[in-house]
Symmetry: C2
Subunit: 302 residues, 2 copies
């Protein structure tokens, strides 16, 4: 079978070991590359940022057939888009080699450059993909302070993307947004929307510089700053583009937001609990809040 010519068969090869090492944050930082696993994430990377993708690894069986039909479609897409994808090298590998690369590849994995990914919020207006000036109307930024769980981190990036946010900012000491589990949980959204990093000070400085307000999601509030229930906030939303840019800031999964951060925000919003649940988890809170505000804004523009 022609496909098997040059197939990578050695799971102990140096190249395989180097790819597998990209699961470690330290290695990713050192070599400036990341691992993208499974058809959905690889397809979105190849479609939206082919210039970042260096190598694609596709598992084939003993007869030389691609193990995953979706992987075969991605290979065909790359071959059919020479202009955009000319820099991508497609490798066929045995299942044993794929298993050595990643246990979560579902037949396809890619190595991509981390250049231009997970940059600083301060550079968001500095051109390129992150060019804030190319975006229309007021911006919505979804900001997460000390998000620690990779699954949560990926899910909130996906939710922010779906809700039409202009960027996601991981504030302070968060999980690395380029880690494999985060990437998988974003279902490709990592390649749709700028995901940036900032310190707490950088977050507030950026918002001040861009005439943007910071709205914290918190049930308690602090001192004189008490939360406004979300339905009240929605009822008071301007039904046109009159509102300015805004960052919605969510706290850590367990601790929420510290008081000294809440005190610096322009407002606090709480999601009402109508039943007996004590609280909502981070991903649920982000879904409810980001979507409510997005729907309110879009309905206003209709």
């Amino acid at each position: 079978m022609p496909l098997t010519q040059g197939t990578m068969t050695n799971p102990n090869a140096d190249r395989v070991r180097r790819i597998a090492e990209l699961t470690r944050a330290k290695t990713r930082r050192k070599v400036g590359r990341m691992l993208v696993e499974a058809p959905q994430a690889v397809r979105e990377a190849v479609t939206f940022h082919p210039e970042r993708v260096e190598d694609v690894y596709i598992a084939i069986d003993e007869d030389g057939n691609t193990v995953s039909a979706r992987a075969a479609e991605i290979a065909a897409y790359i071959m059919g888009h020479k202009d955009e994808c000319g820099g991508i090298y497609v490798h066929y590998v045995t299942q044993r080699v794929m298993d050595a690369i990643s246990g979560d590849a579902q037949g396809i994995a890619a190595v991509a450059s981390t250049k231009g990914m997970a940059g600083r919020l301060a550079d968001f207006a500095a051109g390129g993909d992150n060019d804030v000036d190319g975006r229309r109307g007021p911006l919505t930024i979804a900001a997460f302070w000390q998000v620690r769980d990779p699954g949560n981190a990926g899910t909130v990036i996906r939710t922010a993307d779906a809700a039409g946010a202009d960027a996601v900012v991981f504030v302070d000491d968060c999980v690395d947004p380029l880690g494999p589990k985060v990437v998988r949980s974003t279902a490709g959204s990592l390649f749709h929307i700028p995901v940036l990093r900032a310190s707490v000070d950088e977050l507030f400085a950026w918002n001040a510089d861009h005439n943007a307000s910071v709205l914290a999601a918190d049930v308690r509030g602090t001192g004189d700053l008490k939360p406004v229930p979300l339905p009240e906030l929605l009822a008071a939303e301007p039904k046109d583009d009159a509102h300015t840019s805004r960052s919605i800031l969510f706290g850590n999964e367990a601790r929420g937001l510290d008081d000294d951060i809440l005190e610096r925000c322009d407002g606090i919003v709480s999601i009402p609990i109508y039943g007996k649940a004590e609280s909502l988890n981070l991903a649920t809170s982000a879904a409810v809040l980001l979507y409510s505000l997005a729907m309110s804004s879009h309905v206003g523009k209709m």
Copy 2:
């Protein structure tokens, strides 16, 4: 230390083995008991359904002190509520015994009767906790067809509880809602809200019998039944109690809802995607939809 008198120290004891076996659905069905792990779930079980709780196991260290401060609070609550909690037996166990009971106990676990839990939707109006007649106004039922992932299942139960739904129904072949991972993911909501089971036919029969409509969450629709975008649905919601009872039906994580189910629904609603994400996951869809409808309904009543 008095606390250590009678402490369970043998991780190989028959009782310990029997508790650990409750992680298996088959054993739960056979013995009619379930395992409740970690402080939040145990506290909610003891607070909302003490009559279901048979035994509580609390880990103590070598000095006889309770390992978890939250577990100690629960023990104090049980001692202080003899009327409600008189039937609960509290056992102190070594950490090794607790590890043999559960790797996810965080210092406390309970064994509860499954009687009255995860019953049939058809019995929802039959009195007791599930007495539909004791509920006021139109009912909102959150129904999930073939939900398979335990974490998803628990999260959607928690979300439905927070959004004030009157019950959760697992339709057709779903994950067992009494499994340990589901229970943990509900964060106690399993003990706040009736969680019921139904076949597809039972779901539609119950809704027909109760003059309730079935609204499917789906992006595609089928045949002549096309989805209404959620913002349009919200704009058309009656701003009083004029609407009747309603079941919101969500599909399987990967497959969504089958066409033959969609065709039986009274309406279909889709959540708009404002960004480039291809879809939302089940838990996010449930959060956005259940909360939007709940907020709309509650604002209408204000």
